[in-house]
């Protein structure tokens, strides 16, 4: 509904009038638009331009000498292209694990009708989503370190003699990323699960379907749009995370964001760092686009 729609029928607004009223509103969006152009579009464009400059350690300014040398280096050097696959692989595992863990929790919240209990669960999920990631990684590191609480308890119980390597490896990164992305998965699923009419499930049950069958044949297919949205979101967040691989991987597991930081902060190779950043952005965008396209096809365009 807009102001124009709400006008009494006796005073219809002409097309010209509507265009004029849209035009009169432009000043509302102008400040945000200008801000985004100057501090978002121009900076990202200059990063793309920098990635096309030949590598000159210590030099930051964008020059007019353009070359693809940085990208050729990235795609011919196993150190870098392995990192791309490692990043994608970790993100895929995280998206799957977050779905397995997140779906039942989302289901539980969606089916909790008691308003107080529902709000309580929502606040738990939202708070854990909004809480600073570094704080949560602190907690996970105290739990999962070589002398962490989990290893201590297992040793005290006499189950193991040597500490299990729970972090500073891929496993630690996956656990860390699942912790961070799980609320996004849950929130993507709650709405869609709630919108599935409960009588559909009941109908299936009354026609003799077992509970599992009703779940697998009714609930799961109907919540597909939420599953797709959630896995895409979790995947994108995982691929681009720096702080989780840095802390949980102990700078031992080289994923793309770690390479970017190293090239900039340690090597001072801004052009290569910028090129890696472009590769990170384009890769995650491409995977999301391909996934979205194929998923839209398989679910009959119901995304």
């Amino acid at each position: 509904m807009t102001i124009a729609d709400a006008r009494p029928a006796g005073r219809p607004l002409s097309l010209a009038g509507r265009v004029r009223s849209s035009f009169r509103l432009w000043w509302l969006v102008a400040p945000a638009f200008a801000f985004f152009i100057v501090f978002f579009v121009v900076p990202v464009a200059s990063l793309f331009a920098l990635s096309l400059n030949p590598a000159r350690p210590g030099m930051i300014a964008v020059t007019s000498h353009f070359t693809l040398a940085n990208f050729i280096l990235i795609f011919t050097h196993p150190l870098f292209y392995d990192a791309i696959f490692r990043s994608l692989g970790i993100a895929a595992v995280v998206a799957f694990a977050a779905l397995i863990l997140g779906y039942p929790l989302a289901y539980l919240i969606a089916k909790t009708e008691h308003p107080g209990r529902n709000t309580f669960l929502m606040i738990l999920v939202l708070s854990s989503m909004q809480l600073d990631m570094v704080i949560r990684m602190y907690g996970l590191m105290v739990l999962m370190g070589d002398n962490g609480l989990i290893n201590q308890m297992l040793k005290d119980a006499g189950l193991i003699n040597h500490s299990l390597p729970l972090m500073y490896n891929m496993f630690g990164i996956v656990v860390g990323l699942v912790q961070v992305t799980l609320p996004f998965m849950v929130l993507s699923l709650i709405g869609i699960i709630r919108s599935v009419n409960p009588s559909l499930e009941e109908a299936a049950r009354s026609l003799g379907a077992s509970r599992r069958q009703a779940m697998m044949l009714i609930m799961l297919p109907l919540s597909m749009p939420g599953i797709l949205a959630g896995t895409i979101l979790v995947f994108a967040l995982s691929v681009s995370s720096y702080v989780v691989p840095a802390l949980m991987g102990g700078w031992q597991v080289f994923v793309l964001p770690i390479h970017i930081y190293q090239q900039i902060a340690q090597t001072g190779n801004w052009q290569l760092g910028a090129a890696l950043a472009v590769v990170l952005f384009v890769t995650s965008l491409a995977v999301v686009a391909v996934y979205h396209f194929s998923a839209a096809k398989s679910s009959g365009g119901r995304t």
């Binding site: 509904m1 807009t2 102001i3 709400a6 849209s22 509302l28 969006v29 945000a32 985004f36 501090f39 978002f40 900076p43 990202v44 200059s46 990063l47 920098l50 300014a61 964008v62 863990l101 929790l105 289901y107 539980l108 709000t119 929502m122 606040i123 939202l126 708070s127 854990s128 909004q130 809480l131 600073d132 704080i135 949560r136 602190y138 907690g139 105290v142 739990l143 609480l149 201590q152 308890m153 699942v178 912790q179 799980l182 849950v186 929130l187 709650i190 509970r211 779940m215 994108a236 681009s240 995370s241 720096y242 840095a246 964001p257 970017i260 900039i264 760092g273 950043a277 952005f281 995650s284």
Partner: protein, 267 residues
């Protein structure tokens, strides 16, 4: 007349596991900050406020907390004003461009944080506009990542707003601005407050965008904790974390009172 619980047993089990994954790390931080010993062991060696006291006199974490707070307040202020104005345009304009514009305003949260931070840093240095390694430069980055949250929340509130209320005020002789201020702003006020709370929390906990924009002189709390975590599990950092956790939980409880969380996030 329901004889079975709506959630299957296996689902309940996994849901509890999921809640544990979300909450146990947070509980560990709280215990580490309130622990009497030098490191967290299980069972804990007793509770004490020594690390909380250490945080309140810390020359690293207390100023970092202050910087985070200041940056978040200023970024929220700008994001709320810019975002609310843009949201009004996005719901009232009849221009076909508004859908494109809406997508455009969401881009900063789609772009990886580390890429956005790096872009701004490169831009500040190559444009030489005096923003590199400064507080305003950092705040600009935070406005970019918080603005989308304001736009989404306020747009959601405006879509359900009944414009005939404002029209009624107009027909009774109120000027457009008065009608907006007395009717629309009153009604969408809670959503604007909730959106600025989200913006504040997003900015307060922001790490990736800050990474390239902060300096040892302007360290936010997440950066200070990250730096200390590279070397040891500083219980003082956990004590600082307790304050951040309190801040986030309080904000979420307040925003649950302001808007329907179900409507804002559930659908």
């Amino acid at each position: 007349m329901r004889t079975e619980s709506p959630t299957p047993f296996l689902f309940k089990l996994i849901a509890i596991l999921a809640l544990a994954v979300l909450l146990v790390p947070v509980i560990v931080v709280i215990l580490a900050g309130l622990n009497a010993g030098n490191y967290l062991a299980f069972p804990p060696q007793g509770l004490s406020l020594r690390w909380v006291a250490a945080f309140l006199t810390s020359s690293i974490f207390l100023p970092a907390f202050g910087v985070s707070f200041l940056v978040a307040i200023i970024a929220t202020l700008f994001a709320t004003v810019l975002g609310t104005m843009a949201a009004i345009y996005l719901t009232r304009s009849e221009s076909r461009l508004k859908h494109v514009l809406r997508g455009f305003f969401l881009l900063p949260i789609i772009l990886p944080g580390i890429v956005l931070g790096l872009s701004l840093y490169v831009f500040y240095i190559s444009a030489n506009i005096g923003l590199a390694r400064t507080l305003p430069g950092l705040i600009i980055g935070h406005v970019l990542v918080t603005c989308p949250f304001v736009i989404v929340t306020v747009t959601a509130a405006l879509v359900t707003f009944d414009n005939s209320l404002e029209e009624a005020a107009r027909s009774l002789g109120a000027s457009p601005f008065t009608a907006f201020r007395l009717i629309t702003l009153r009604i969408i006020g809670p959503a604007i407050s909730a959106s600025s709370i989200f913006a504040f929390i997003v900015s307060f906990g922001q790490f990736e965008v800050t990474l390239f924009l902060s300096t040892p002189n302007i360290q936010t709390l997440p950066i200070a904790m990250y730096v200390s975590l590279r070397y040891s599990f500083e219980p003082t950092a956990a004590a600082a974390g307790i304050f951040a956790i309190l801040l986030v939980v309080t904000s979420m409880v307040v925003s649950a009172k302001l808007i329907s969380l179900k409507r804002a996030f559930g659908t």
